[in-house]
Structure formats: C-alpha cells, structure tokens
C-alpha cells in the first residue's frame, strides 16, 4: 500500500467504485436475496470509470487512488485494482457483520456516503478528478457523485460517455473534455475544469488487464480500510490546494440545440368497436411490404434506398435536410478524443 504525502503536488485521480455482487441469488419462494460474494465484480460503468481514471492519470502523469464502499467480499476485486497500480482504500459498507452501526447508516444516505468518501481521501490529498460509474457507490442511485462534488467543492459532469484530458498548452490549465448524450444521437461537449467529479457510462472504453507482475504483487497486498466517518476537512474552499490551481469555475457547455424528430399525425380510426380501433392503430392486420433485398450495392445507393423508403412512408419529407449539428465550444481539437 502506497502512503502518499498529502503535500505532494502530483495530480491525484480518484476512481470511486461500486463493487457489488453482480449475480445475487433470489429465493423464488421467499424473495430473499443472497449475496455470497462469488459473483462480485465491477459493473461495466465502474470498469469504464476505472479505465478513464487510469488514462487521465497517465496523461497527467499523476497518481490513481481507488476508493470503494462495500463489504469484505469486495477485497479480491480490490486486489485486481491494486494489480493495475492504483492505491486502494475500502469503506466498510453493506453486509459486513462487524461493521454495523455507521455502515448501516450509510446504506440509505448518499450524502453521508459522499462525506465518508471525501474523508477517506484526505490522507491522499485533494483529488483533482474523481470518476464514478453512473451507478454510484450508494445503492446505485447515481446521486452520490453530486453530493461528493459538493463535499469536495468540485465541478461536476455526470452521465458522460467520453472523458479525456485536454491536450496541454491549449488553455491556461489542465481541463477535461467530456461528452454527454442528447436527443437523436447528438452529443454535447463539455469543458470541465478541475477539480471535478465525473460519472461515466459503461461505454467507449474497456478496462485494461493488469500485468502479470502486478497480479503477482497484488496477491499479498493489504487493502486499507477507512473508517466510515462522516466528518470531512476537505471543506468548501473550492479545493484550494489542488494540483493545477486553475479555478476556472464551472463546466462550460458548447451551444447546443436538441434535435426533435418530427411527429407524424395519424387520424384516430373511426370505428365503434375498440378492437377494430386497436387493430387499426397497431396495424396488426395490415399487409406490410415484405423485406426487400436491394444489395449488393454501394453505401450511397443503400443510403438513398433507405431514405427513399422513409420518404415513401411519410417519416421524412423529401428531399431531407438534416438539422445542423450543435456548434462545438470554441477551441477544441476534434482529434483529441
């Protein structure tokens, strides 16, 4: 276990993980849920959070600390995390028989858990970035990262599909570029200042595997346990001792407008019989075009055929004019993804 001097100024990236039994067994007779710990692992969102943390720490040449709240059976998973080179701390939470009391209090209290996470991080210094899975370390509500951002006085950007460190030298200090989903496949791009708390979906990245040397060393690693305290001294001074000192304030959002697909108005079927109306609405008895094989054709012809079909059936006015994409926030290098 690495002991980190709180005064060191190397960037600190934290992955805050919800390690849980992904395969609990439900007794069909009683409804009782058994978590035996055999199915314990990282959800796709948490695996993505950890991978993002590792990548950003590499980009910043910083350290990674993983904090997880959970019962003792999550320790084998934390060993795998140690094998990836991260320092690890566990907040007892959930089913630990010996950790009742405060652990039980935290179970339904996102704010309390956020305070406990913030307190557990104090020995490591002030985090520059905390990445969570979008099902956060509480009971998966996703609300914990917001509380944590409040505790740390950090910016927040939640539910992201992409998160990268912005290339150095383009702005005054290190920032992050994040992407979030909008309607109809559009995404908005955010410039996120640090310190920040981000939560990510399980998309876009796959967690790397630990090298053999790391796995060998992790076998005997001691997993530190942080008391489930609810007091914190990170305070609300906006993370003044942060690595970058670029208190640029809030998340910057590029100008966006949502794309709304056109609604197609259909007259109500005129029949006194509700069954007939229902059949007419669902089109259950209407003859449909059989599947048409138009290939093999080039991509352009295929696109024309598809659009032609949509126009023929009233989903599009032809010839279609797609809406302009949202204007991205000004100085972003699109190659940096």
């Amino acid at each position: 276990m690495t002991t980190v001097d709180a005064t060191t100024r190397s960037p600190l990236v934290v992955a805050c993980l919800r390690i849980t039994d992904l395969h609990p067994e439900v007794d069909l007779l009683t409804g009782a849920v058994t978590r035996d710990g055999l199915g314990v692992g990282l959800s796709p969102a948490d695996a993505a959070a950890l991978e993002h943390a590792l990548r950003i720490a590499e980009a910043w040449t910083g350290r990674v600390v993983v904090v997880a709240a959970g019962p003792r059976y999550i320790v084998p998973v934390l060993r795998e995390v140690v094998a990836l080179g991260a320092a690890v701390v566990r907040i007892p939470y959930g089913d630990d028989a010996s950790d009742h009391g405060q652990a039980a209090e935290l179970a339904g209290d996102e704010h309390g858990l956020a305070r406990a996470v913030a307190a557990a991080l104090i020995p490591f210094g002030t985090p520059d970035l905390v990445v969570c899975g979008d099902h956060s370390v509480d009971r998966g509500t996703g609300a914990m990262p917001a509380f944590l951002a409040h505790e740390l006085g950090a910016a927040q950007a939640l539910g992201l599909v992409a998160l990268t460190a912005e290339r150095a030298g383009q702005t005054s200090g290190p920032t992050l570029i994040a992407e979030r989903r909008l309607d109809a496949g559009w995404r908005e791009r955010l410039r996120v200042p640090i310190p920040a708390v981000c939560s990510v979906e399980g998309a876009g990245v796959r967690l790397r595997r630990a090298p053999l040397s790391g796995a060998l060393a992790a076998g005997s690693a001691v997993i530190a346990s942080a008391p489930a305290t609810t007091t914190t001294t990170h305070g609300t001074d906006g993370g003044a001792d942060s690595w970058a000192d670029n208190q640029s304030g809030s998340v910057h959002i590029g100008a966006t407008r949502a794309f709304e697909p056109r609604t197609r108005v259909r007259p109500a079927p005129d029949s006194a019989d509700p069954r007939i109306r229902l059949l007419a609405l669902t089109g259950a008895l209407v003859a449909h075009d059989p599947p048409t094989v138009i290939g093999p054709v080039g991509a352009a012809e295929a696109a024309d055929a598809l659009i032609g079909f949509l126009v023929r059936h009233g989903y599009l006015d032809g010839p279609p004019t797609p809406p302009a994409p949202p204007t991205p926030p000004a100085p972003i290098d699109p190659g940096d993804r």
Binding site: L22, H23, L28, L29, L38, G39, G41, R206, R209
Partner: protein, 125 residues
C-alpha cells in the same frame, strides 16, 4: 406458467409443506414439466469476454453430415443455418469442450479458454 405440478409452483411453503401435484401420464407416472432453455441458462453467471474463444469454420461444416455439436452442446450454442453452415455463439459457454470433442471434422471448431477472469463462473459446481 404456474399450472399445478409445475416445478415453478410457488405456493404452500408457509407451513413447511411443499406443493403437491404434477401431471399424470396415462401410465399414472408423475411428470414434471421442464423449463425453457432461456430460464435454465438465466441462473448461470457468465462474464462475457470481448474475444470469442470458439470459432467455427462454416465451410468445413457444410460437408458435415452428423452435426453432433448442434444437439450435444449443453449450452445449445450451435445452430445450423439454411445454407448448410453452422452459426455459433460463445457468450453463454460452459467451456466444457463437448463441441470440439464430438466434432468429426478436423479443424472445423477451434476451441480455447476465454481470457482470464471471463467466461462461466459456477457458484454451485
């Protein structure tokens, strides 16, 4: 789906007695209905890896007359296609090895272990 005698019957456990029932066949024997294959597999913990650890050379399968893999695979991963090939899945694989062992065409099925930590995890083996 909960007809009398279904193995999924969920009544009558309160007093410790279990539901009695069952279909009676013409010979008088009790018969217990099976469950769907999907339901059968739903209780198993599979940690699906990114890489397919089974590959099938469908060209070899087109000349195969026995197709032992299709019925013998306990996870039902192999499906014959209309053009004579074999469509395979690897996600819900027990990693037992039945498919390549019963395959009578050398080289049709390439079988390895899934990447470390992935694949089936038996809780009650």
């Amino acid at each position: 789906m909960s007809e009398p005698g279904s193995v999924n019957e969920t009544t009558g456990a309160a007093d410790g007695s279990l539901p009695l029932g069952g279909d009676t066949t013409p010979t008088g024997a009790l018969r217990w209905r099976g469950i769907s294959f999907e339901e059968r597999m739903a209780g198993v913990d599979f940690r699906v890896g990114a890489r397919a650890h089974i590959t099938v050379d469908s060209d070899v399968c087109r000349s195969c007359t026995t197709r032992g893999c299709v019925t013998a695979c306990p996870a039902n991963l192999f499906a014959p296609t209309s053009d004579g090939g074999i469509l395979f899945n690897y996600e819900e694989c027990f990693e037992c090895g039945t498919c390549y062992m019963v395959c009578n065409s050398e080289g049709a099925i390439t079988w390895t272990y899934p990447d470390g930590g992935h694949g089936v995890v038996f809780h009650h083996g």
